[in-house]
Protein backbone atom coordinates (compact mmCIF):
# COMPACT_ATOMS: atom_id res chain seq x y z
CA UNK A 1 0.00 0.00 0.00
CA UNK A 2 1.50 3.38 -0.93
CA UNK A 3 2.49 5.80 1.81
CA UNK A 4 0.23 8.84 2.17
CA UNK A 5 3.01 11.10 0.95
CA UNK A 6 3.21 14.62 2.23
CA UNK A 7 0.39 14.22 4.73
CA UNK A 8 2.18 13.04 7.84
CA UNK A 9 5.02 15.51 7.43
CA UNK A 10 2.68 18.50 7.29
CA UNK A 11 0.59 17.68 10.36
CA UNK A 12 1.75 20.03 13.14
CA UNK A 13 2.23 18.64 16.64
CA UNK A 14 -0.89 19.19 18.69
CA UNK A 15 0.81 19.25 22.09
CA UNK A 16 3.85 21.42 22.54
CA UNK A 17 5.76 23.23 25.29
CA UNK A 18 8.57 25.59 24.40
CA UNK A 19 9.86 29.11 23.91
CA UNK A 20 8.48 29.60 20.39
CA UNK A 21 5.73 32.23 20.03
CA UNK A 22 2.22 30.79 19.88
CA UNK A 23 0.44 30.59 16.52
CA UNK A 24 -3.28 30.40 17.30
CA UNK A 25 -4.36 30.20 13.66
CA UNK A 26 -2.06 27.25 13.03
CA UNK A 27 -3.24 25.59 16.24
CA UNK A 28 -6.88 25.96 15.15
CA UNK A 29 -6.04 24.60 11.70
CA UNK A 30 -4.44 21.54 13.30
CA UNK A 31 -7.71 20.43 14.91
CA UNK A 32 -10.43 21.41 12.48
CA UNK A 33 -11.83 19.50 9.52
CA UNK A 34 -14.82 19.41 7.18
CA UNK A 35 -16.99 17.77 9.85
CA UNK A 36 -16.35 20.61 12.33
CA UNK A 37 -18.90 23.37 12.65
CA UNK A 38 -17.12 24.92 15.62
CA UNK A 39 -13.54 25.76 16.53
CA UNK A 40 -13.04 27.35 19.94
CA UNK A 41 -9.66 28.89 20.77
CA UNK A 42 -8.61 30.01 24.22
CA UNK A 43 -5.56 32.20 24.80
CA UNK A 44 -4.16 32.82 28.26
CA UNK A 45 -2.05 35.99 28.53
CA UNK A 46 0.24 37.67 31.05
CA UNK A 47 -1.82 40.01 33.26
CA UNK A 48 -0.37 43.25 34.66
CA UNK A 49 -1.61 42.59 38.19
CA UNK A 50 -1.86 39.66 40.58
CA UNK A 51 -2.88 39.55 44.25
CA UNK A 52 -2.48 43.30 44.60
CA UNK A 53 0.96 43.34 42.96
CA UNK A 54 1.92 45.17 39.78
CA UNK A 55 3.35 42.49 37.53
CA UNK A 56 6.36 43.48 35.37
CA UNK A 57 6.79 40.17 33.54
CA UNK A 58 6.56 36.41 34.06
CA UNK A 59 9.10 33.68 33.51
CA UNK A 60 7.61 30.26 32.81
CA UNK A 61 9.49 27.08 33.64
CA UNK A 62 8.32 23.60 32.63
CA UNK A 63 9.29 19.97 32.91
CA UNK A 64 8.79 19.70 29.17
CA UNK A 65 8.44 15.96 28.46
CA UNK A 66 6.04 15.48 31.38
CA UNK A 67 4.09 18.63 30.48
CA UNK A 68 3.57 17.33 26.95
CA UNK A 69 2.42 13.99 28.39
CA UNK A 70 0.01 15.83 30.68
CA UNK A 71 -1.51 17.56 27.64
CA UNK A 72 -1.91 14.14 25.98
CA UNK A 73 -3.61 12.84 29.10
CA UNK A 74 -5.97 15.83 29.18
CA UNK A 75 -6.85 15.15 25.54
CA UNK A 76 -7.50 11.47 26.32
CA UNK A 77 -9.73 12.44 29.26
CA UNK A 78 -11.62 14.90 27.07
CA UNK A 79 -12.02 12.28 24.34
CA UNK A 80 -13.62 9.96 26.88
CA UNK A 81 -16.29 12.53 27.72
CA UNK A 82 -16.54 14.36 24.37
CA UNK A 83 -15.51 11.84 21.67
CA UNK A 84 -16.19 14.16 18.73
CA UNK A 85 -13.80 16.91 19.85
CA UNK A 86 -10.22 17.36 18.62
CA UNK A 87 -7.89 19.25 20.96
CA UNK A 88 -4.52 20.98 20.65
CA UNK A 89 -2.50 22.78 23.35
CA UNK A 90 0.67 24.87 23.18
CA UNK A 91 2.30 26.45 26.22
CA UNK A 92 5.23 28.84 26.24
CA UNK A 93 8.28 28.87 28.46
CA UNK A 94 10.76 31.60 29.27
CA UNK A 95 10.24 35.32 29.83
CA UNK A 96 6.87 36.72 28.73
CA UNK A 97 5.89 40.38 28.92
CA UNK A 98 2.54 41.76 30.06
CA UNK A 99 -0.05 41.08 27.36
CA UNK A 100 1.86 38.25 25.73
CA UNK A 101 0.04 34.93 25.22
CA UNK A 102 1.33 32.15 27.47
CA UNK A 103 -0.98 29.31 26.50
CA UNK A 104 -3.19 28.57 23.50
CA UNK A 105 -5.87 25.90 23.29
CA UNK A 106 -7.90 24.92 20.24
CA UNK A 107 -10.91 22.59 20.36
CA UNK A 108 -12.90 21.63 17.28
CA UNK A 109 -16.12 19.66 17.02
CA UNK A 110 -19.25 19.30 14.89
CA UNK A 111 -21.21 21.50 17.34
CA UNK A 112 -20.18 24.47 19.46
CA UNK A 113 -21.24 23.27 22.92
CA UNK A 114 -18.68 20.47 22.98
CA UNK A 115 -15.88 22.67 21.65
CA UNK A 116 -16.54 25.31 24.34
CA UNK A 117 -16.68 22.65 27.06
CA UNK A 118 -13.43 20.97 26.02
CA UNK A 119 -11.49 24.24 25.81
CA UNK A 120 -12.62 25.08 29.36
CA UNK A 121 -11.88 21.58 30.61
CA UNK A 122 -8.39 21.73 29.11
CA UNK A 123 -7.37 24.99 30.80
CA UNK A 124 -8.76 23.83 34.15
CA UNK A 125 -6.80 20.56 33.92
CA UNK A 126 -3.60 22.32 32.79
CA UNK A 127 -3.76 24.39 35.97
CA UNK A 128 -4.21 21.20 38.02
CA UNK A 129 -1.74 18.73 36.57
CA UNK A 130 0.71 20.23 34.04
CA UNK A 131 4.24 20.65 35.46
CA UNK A 132 4.60 24.32 34.54
CA UNK A 133 5.44 27.19 36.89
CA UNK A 134 5.12 30.97 36.82
CA UNK A 135 7.94 33.03 38.29
CA UNK A 136 6.32 36.39 38.84
CA UNK A 137 8.48 39.50 38.70
CA UNK A 138 6.55 42.38 40.19
CA UNK A 139 7.34 45.92 41.28
CA UNK A 140 9.34 45.35 44.43
CA UNK A 141 10.25 41.70 44.16
CA UNK A 142 9.71 38.26 42.69
CA UNK A 143 7.79 35.17 43.74
CA UNK A 144 7.14 31.66 42.45
CA UNK A 145 3.41 31.12 42.03
CA UNK A 146 2.38 27.80 43.54
CA UNK A 147 -1.14 26.56 42.85
CA UNK A 148 -2.24 22.95 42.87
CA UNK A 149 -0.28 19.90 43.97
CA UNK A 150 -0.18 17.98 40.68
CA UNK A 151 -1.89 14.61 40.93
CA UNK A 152 -3.32 13.30 37.66
CA UNK A 153 -4.99 10.41 39.53
CA UNK A 154 -6.96 12.75 41.82
CA UNK A 155 -10.53 12.01 40.77
CA UNK A 156 -11.94 14.87 42.86
CA UNK A 157 -9.87 17.42 40.98
CA UNK A 158 -10.92 15.91 37.66
CA UNK A 159 -14.57 16.09 38.64
CA UNK A 160 -14.12 19.75 39.63
CA UNK A 161 -12.67 20.51 36.21
CA UNK A 162 -15.56 18.66 34.55
CA UNK A 163 -18.08 20.62 36.60
CA UNK A 164 -16.52 23.94 35.52
CA UNK A 165 -16.43 22.81 31.88
CA UNK A 166 -20.13 21.91 32.01
CA UNK A 167 -21.34 24.95 33.95
Amino acid sequence: MPEPRGILTTVPRRFRVGSDPLDVAQLAASVTGPECGAVVTFVGAVRDHNSGRRVRYLEYEAFVPLAVKSFEQIAAEAAGRWPSVALAIHHRTGRLEVGEPSVAIAAASPHRADAFAVSRYAIERIKQISPIWKHEHFEGGEVWIEGATADPADEGARQAALARACS
Binding site: Y60, E61, F63, L66, K69, I126, P131, W144, A148
Partner: protein
Amino acid sequence: MLVTVRLFARLREIAGAPDIQLEVPTGSTAGHAWKSLAARYPGLEAYESSISCAVNEDYARMTAQLRDGDEIAFLPPVSGG
Protein backbone atom coordinates in the same frame (compact mmCIF):
# COMPACT_ATOMS: atom_id res chain seq x y z
CA MET B 1 22.67 2.94 43.98
CA LEU B 2 22.82 6.27 42.20
CA VAL B 3 19.78 8.23 41.06
CA THR B 4 19.49 11.61 39.39
CA VAL B 5 17.19 14.10 41.05
CA ARG B 6 15.67 16.90 39.00
CA LEU B 7 14.27 19.95 40.72
CA PHE B 8 12.08 22.72 39.36
CA ALA B 9 11.07 26.29 40.18
CA ARG B 10 11.47 27.17 43.87
CA LEU B 11 12.86 23.71 44.73
CA ARG B 12 15.63 24.22 42.15
CA GLU B 13 16.44 27.60 43.70
CA ILE B 14 16.57 26.22 47.24
CA ALA B 15 18.99 23.45 46.24
CA GLY B 16 20.94 25.76 43.93
CA ALA B 17 21.00 23.23 41.08
CA PRO B 18 18.54 21.71 38.59
CA ASP B 19 20.13 18.22 38.72
CA ILE B 20 21.63 16.41 41.69
CA GLN B 21 23.25 12.99 41.82
CA LEU B 22 22.04 11.17 44.92
CA GLU B 23 23.35 7.95 46.44
CA VAL B 24 20.51 6.00 48.06
CA PRO B 25 20.32 2.47 49.52
CA THR B 26 19.01 -0.31 47.29
CA GLY B 27 15.26 -0.64 47.71
CA SER B 28 14.75 3.06 48.35
CA THR B 29 11.51 4.70 47.36
CA ALA B 30 10.94 8.17 45.92
CA GLY B 31 9.96 9.22 49.45
CA HIS B 32 13.29 8.00 50.82
CA ALA B 33 15.13 10.00 48.17
CA TRP B 34 13.13 13.09 49.13
CA LYS B 35 13.98 12.65 52.83
CA SER B 36 17.65 12.32 51.97
CA LEU B 37 17.49 15.42 49.80
CA ALA B 38 15.62 17.45 52.42
CA ALA B 39 18.27 16.52 54.99
CA ARG B 40 20.90 17.99 52.69
CA TYR B 41 18.84 21.10 51.83
CA PRO B 42 16.71 21.93 54.89
CA GLY B 43 14.78 24.62 52.98
CA LEU B 44 13.02 21.82 51.09
CA GLU B 45 11.31 20.44 54.21
CA ALA B 46 8.44 22.92 53.98
CA TYR B 47 7.44 21.34 50.67
CA GLU B 48 7.05 17.80 51.99
CA SER B 49 3.24 17.86 52.01
CA SER B 50 2.77 19.67 48.70
CA ILE B 51 5.22 18.12 46.23
CA SER B 52 4.52 15.68 43.43
CA CYS B 53 7.08 13.36 41.95
CA ALA B 54 7.83 11.77 38.61
CA VAL B 55 10.13 8.83 37.90
CA ASN B 56 11.69 8.61 34.44
CA GLU B 57 9.33 11.31 33.11
CA ASP B 58 6.07 9.79 34.35
CA TYR B 59 4.10 10.82 37.40
CA ALA B 60 4.70 8.39 40.27
CA ARG B 61 3.75 7.91 43.91
CA MET B 62 6.21 8.68 46.69
CA THR B 63 6.05 4.96 47.49
CA ALA B 64 7.47 4.06 44.05
CA GLN B 65 10.57 1.87 44.27
CA LEU B 66 13.65 3.34 42.63
CA ARG B 67 16.21 1.51 40.54
CA ASP B 68 19.82 2.33 39.87
CA GLY B 69 20.06 5.09 37.27
CA ASP B 70 16.48 6.31 37.66
CA GLU B 71 15.69 9.95 37.16
CA ILE B 72 13.36 11.28 39.83
CA ALA B 73 11.79 14.71 39.57
CA PHE B 74 10.30 16.59 42.49
CA LEU B 75 7.67 19.13 41.53
CA PRO B 76 6.36 21.99 43.66
CA PRO B 77 2.66 22.92 43.24
CA VAL B 78 2.08 23.86 39.62
CA SER B 79 0.93 27.18 38.19
CA GLY B 80 0.71 26.91 34.42
CA GLY B 81 -1.78 28.67 32.21
